[in-house]
């Protein structure tokens, strides 16, 4: 199964992720 987040945010929103990385619930996805 898959979860897709779609949201608007100010232009300076940045993800601190890498494609393919494992992630766990509660860990940061990104911030302004």
């Amino acid at each position: 199964s898959t979860i897709v987040l779609l949201f608007e945010a100010p232009r300076d929103f940045t993800f601190n992720l890498k494609p393919g990385q494992k992630i766990r619930f509660g860990e940061a996805l990104g911030t302004m």
Binding site: I3, L6, F7, E8, A9, F15, N16, P19, A28, T31
Partner: protein, 323 residues
Amino acid sequence: LNGALLARVRPLPILLATGGGYVGYDQYGRYRDRRLESLGIEVPPRIASNTQVALYKTIPTRVLSRAWGRLNQVELPTWLRKPVYSLYIWTFGVNMKEAAVEDLHHYRNLSEFFRRKLKPQARPVCDSHCVISPADGKILHFGRVRNCEVEQVKGVTYSLETFLGPHTWAETLGLNKNEDDLTSFQDLLVTKEGNELFHCVVYLAPGDYHCFHSPTDWRVAHRRHFPGSLMSVNPGVARWIKELFCHNERVVLSGEWTHGFFSLTAVGATNVGSIRIYFDKELRTNAPRYSKGSYNDFSYLSNNNQEGVAMRKGEHLGEFNLG
């Protein structure tokens, strides 16, 4: 009898030869792509043709999914629980130390085991970032949405409008925008000047913890349930079938967070065809009958609740279930 046997036997080698030839050709192509990639040459992903997708969709994935779900509702005798769940744990690398209940005999069937909860301290919620991961899994793709196309994996996209459906929920959010001077569906979604649209795709593998939580502080105003196929969504298939997430059964929750529009979509798959949203008792997924291309809407705004359902970052939101 001999003639009939001969007639029956003859198609078999032809089928084997053509099938084997096709698989061989396909595997050689993939080998060649890997060689090029190892030389640092970017190779476009091999996308399934419409025929291949149509063939895949002829597989009765919903029936299989419901049968799989019924099988996993069967209560296991106590003596069988440990071996069965231990095999599942070993196969999918489940970490039972994080489970709220570690005793395998506690779970009456695989379905209950699949819905296991975690110890509260197993997943601390990050306070310093405004958006957190709603679930355990693997990041398939993320980034800015451009030209109304969202990437499911690098290089393979799907249409934003097909995925979310028409922008009719905005009335419930009171986000009416003068649509005639807008350039695209994407512009309809962005409600504040200077904002952009972002997306992130989290793939949950079979052994992952399959509950999901609120990724931020927001209020959920609307639910749109798209019945659909239940093709596999593993990364290999996501690289092969364009618009995969638009084919599959999914539940789109939309609403607002501090910066405007926010949505979370749970997409089902063959082994996890059912989606539960804890505050939405009306939702029924993976039902036997549905009409293709249909969807049903439900608003969480009511006369005495114009706010919708307020969700705190990290709060329990829903779960995927087997079958």
